[in-house]
């Protein structure tokens, strides 16, 4: 009898823990029942459900980073730096919980490509989002062309001006188009930081830039080679600023990796430039927008409600089926299923699983699958009862014999979930994670929760009451 009471205390504990987790989930979503909008005040509120973009509404952007000029060994660092830069830009914008992720694509299926995934919940204006991310100040350092080329350019300029004065049709020659400067390898990527300073005497704003180690060496080299020549500093040359912001003449080689840009800018302009340079120098060559997705907030909310209701109805229908068909054990498995649901919901919260429509579908599917283990056990238990065993023996045998099929079938499901997770784009990863977690948790609830609860029931022997309660469907146990 002592064992009996131990089991009953265990069963009671399981029920209390289940109810506790259920209450925790309820308390952690005050949005739903109190209409609160400010969260994070109580402990429970620190764990809200994380909703994917398709449920919360927002923008998803996938960029491809051009890393062709970066050495293979340094690509990872460059991508990390890129992520930080983009995060900083987004943060100045005040988006709540943005996601900026590096995705390395390919390897098996083609050449490796570096991608950046950006998710902005709550933002639906794609243009604003793209502008926000794409505002790349591109700083370039260019040097004078060779003597001959420069002469050709100057001649072209003279000819152009003469033509203009004479009123002749204007022709832009190749020399003119090429400009007086030629690109160097030095650009904003090698910037460590920029500082706003003011000239001691003229009080004019100066933008001081400090290069990183590699940039310092390159800058030293560049200035050494171009003493008494002009170095032109361009900002956003390709974006409609064809003139250099500054074109100082180099007096002597500059070691130490510091340079100053004095231009015709106001204090305010200089300040903005410093800000942009600091948050902005992209550590990769180029970012291309590969794909865009937006979902409006009402559409997301609608999908979320639909998912929740489908889950509720699914649970109700499965519960009804289990109780009607399997009677008392059915009722027990409904309790086990309820505990399964609250454990899964709590795991979503603590593990920070991002819920998407596909994830919810996976969860609803897993509720159906979770019942499978129970059904296997009940069918086996019934067989044992038919053989004339008492209830407890039958249940024990039923569990023991159903175990191998539960184990083997669930392992194959886990294999599928793992491969799905690997296959995953973010959409599928969510589904696979929920599905895989579901399989593991359902094994636990079916085996431990259902088992403890069934053993705690006050029935024994093989009487008429037992035969009715443990029977199923339209059949009566003999």
């Amino acid at each position: 009898m002592a064992i009996m009471w131990k089991t009953r205390i265990g069963a009671l504990l399981l029920l209390i823990i289940g109810a506790g987790i259920g209450y925790f989930i309820y308390a952690s979503e005050p949005k739903l029942h109190e209409g609160k909008t400010v969260l994070g005040q109580t402990f429970a509120e620190k764990f809200p459900f994380k909703l994917g973009l398709d449920l919360s509404g927002g923008v998803q952007l996938v960029y491809q980073a051009d890393v062709s000029s970066i050495k293979p060994g340094e690509v990872k660092n460059a991508m990390d730096a890129l992520r930080d830069v983009i995060e900083r830009r987004i943060n100045t914008f005040g988006v709540s919980e943005p996601i900026v992720q590096i995705e390395e694509k390919g390897g098996i299926t083609g050449p490796v490509e570096e991608r950046l995934l950006v998710e902005l919940p709550g933002i639906t204006d794609v243009k604003m989002a793209v502008d926000m991310i794409g505002q790349t100040p591109k700083l370039e350092f260019m040097k004078e062309r060779s003597k001959e080329e420069l002469d050709a350019y100057n001649k072209a300029v003279e000819k152009f001006n003469a033509d203009k004065e004479a009123g002749k049709p204007l022709v832009i020659s190749a020399e003119l188009l090429a400009g007086p400067y030629v690109a160097t390898d030095l650009n904003g990527r090698f910037l460590e930081r920029a500082v706003l300073e003011f000239d001691q005497t003229t009080r004019e704003p100066i933008v001081s830039i400090v290069f990183n180690k590699q940039g310092s060496d390159m800058f030293a080299e560049l200035t050494k080679e171009n003493v008494n020549k002009t170095i032109a500093i361009y900002l956003d040359r390709e974006l409609g600023n064809p003139d250099p912001i500054s074109a100082p003449v180099v007096r002597e080689a500059i070691l130490g990796g510091k340079a100053q840009i004095t231009g015709k800018f106001t204090a305010q302009e200089a300040k903005t430039l410093v800000g942009r340079l600091n948050s902005g120098a992209l550590p990769v060559d180029k970012l291309d927008l590969l794909s865009t997705q937006t979902i409006s907030a009402p559409l997301g909310a609608q999908a979320l409600m639909a998912g929740v209701w489908a889950g509720v109805w699914g649970l109700v229908i499965v519960a009804a089926f289990l109780v009607l068909w399997y009677r008392l054990p059915g009722l027990v498995s409904v309790v086990a299923l309820a505990i399964y649901v609250v454990i899964m919901l709590a795991l979503f919260k603590f593990m920070g699983v991002t819920l998407t429509a596909a994830g919810i579908a996976g969860f609803i599917l897993s509720m159906g699958m979770a019942v499978d283990a129970n059904i296997l056990i009940f069918e086996r238990t019934k067989e044992e009862l038919r053989k004339g065993h008492g209830v407890h023996d039958a249940i024990r045998e039923g569990f023991a014999r159903a175990w191998t099929s539960i184990r083997d079938s669930n392992i194959s499901s886990i294999i599928t979930a793992v491969i799905l997770f690997w296959f995953g784009t973010s959409l599928i990863k969510g589904f696979a994670l929920v599905f895989g977690l579901g399989v593991i948790v359902s094994m636990f609830t079916a085996i431990s929760v259902s088992r403890t609860l069934l053993f705690a029931l006050p029935f024994s022997g093989h009487g008429a009451v037992v035969r009715t309660l443990f029977g199923s469907g339209f059949f009566k146990l003999k």
């Binding site: 794909s291 699914g314 596909a358 919810i360 296997l376 589904f431």
Partner: protein
């Protein structure tokens, strides 16, 4: 058990459905969604929806020739076109914003063709990997069973039923003209997971009954194992199909097709694990003993 006895009928039914599925796939072809071939899809909502001609003319003049227009819901319009850049997208929304009409952009996605191609390759890898993983696992799990047929044959038969279970729903989907997207692949992979679940439960019972030597005849053993697991197979599939039905009727629009194909696939999967997989074991055993 009647299933083992009349197995030829079930084999013929399956061969015909597979042939029809292949016919549907060969003649109609997969209708690849934008995530597989690249392209854009936009969904907008109007207070008063303009008719198709107005939309077509507006789109054609703005340079979106060949865009496919689809009416959705009461006041929504869905337009599919090539992959669009951000500038193109703004152009498209302004084209769709007619004077005097209130227009709201509900959803937009644009996927570049390279992403699509890559996903297609990955989908194939995933399907092949799942099949391989399952065959190896089953050969391992049934390694102690070698009489009367060896364990890797259980694996091979499971693979055959797996293929059966994804070819038929794929055929039905193509026949219905539904779009094949990422979720479709997820559904196929999940069907494989569930289908193998069913098959393993039956095989596990056969494994146990072989150990218990309930009959000297293999066909009888398989038949009895089937009878013992029959209720379970039906009831489990029934619960899963019930929840999928709620997902189909109440769930989000984006997972409707997903729940439909899963529903079909799980139905087929249960059918094949009972009516195809185990009778196939008997056929293999008969071939072996003849030789």
């Amino acid at each position: 058990m009647f299933i083992v006895k009349y197995r030829k009928i079930f084999f013929i039914i399956s061969i015909i459905t597979i042939a029809l599925s292949f016919y549907a796939i060969a003649t109609k072809g997969f209708n690849a969604g934008i995530d597989f071939k690249g392209g854009s899809i936009i969904e907008v909502s109007y207070d008063k929806r303009p008719d198709i001609e107005t939309l077509t003319t507006a789109l054609n003049t703005a340079g979106f020739e060949g865009a496919r227009i689809q009416m959705a819901g009461e006041n929504d319009v869905m337009i599919k076109t090539r992959a669009l850049s951000e500038v193109d997208r703004q152009n498209l929304t302004s084209t769709l914003a007619f004077k005097d009409l209130k227009m709201e952009e509900k959803k937009f996605s644009s996927i570049g063709p390279t992403v699509g191609a890559e996903l297609r390759v990955k989908a194939w890898y995933a399907i092949i990997l799942v099949i391989l993983g399952i065959v190896i696992f089953i050969a391992y799990a049934f390694r102690h069973v070698s009489e009367p047929i060896s364990s890797w044959k259980y694996g091979m038969i499971t693979t055959a039923t797996l293929l059966h279970d994804i070819i038929v729903p794929a055929g039905v989907f193509v026949w219905l003209g539904k779009e094949v997207d990422t979720l479709f692949i997820v559904a196929l992979l999940s069907i494989m997971g569930v289908s193998v679940h069913d098959t393993i439960v039956v095989f596990d019972r056969i494994r146990e009954n072989l150990r218990l030597r309930i009959s000297s005849d293999f066909a009888t053993t398989v038949g009895m194992s089937l009878r013992q697991t029959f209720t379970r197979s039906i009831n489990t599939s029934l619960t899963v199909m019930l929840v999928l039905a709620t997902l189909f009727f109440f769930g989000p629009a984006s997972t409707k097709d997903f729940s439909l194909i899963l529903w079909i696939g799980i139905g087929i999967g249960t059918y094949s694990s009972v009516f195809i997989a185990s009778p196939l074991l008997v056929v293999l055993e008969k071939w072996q003993s003849k030789r």
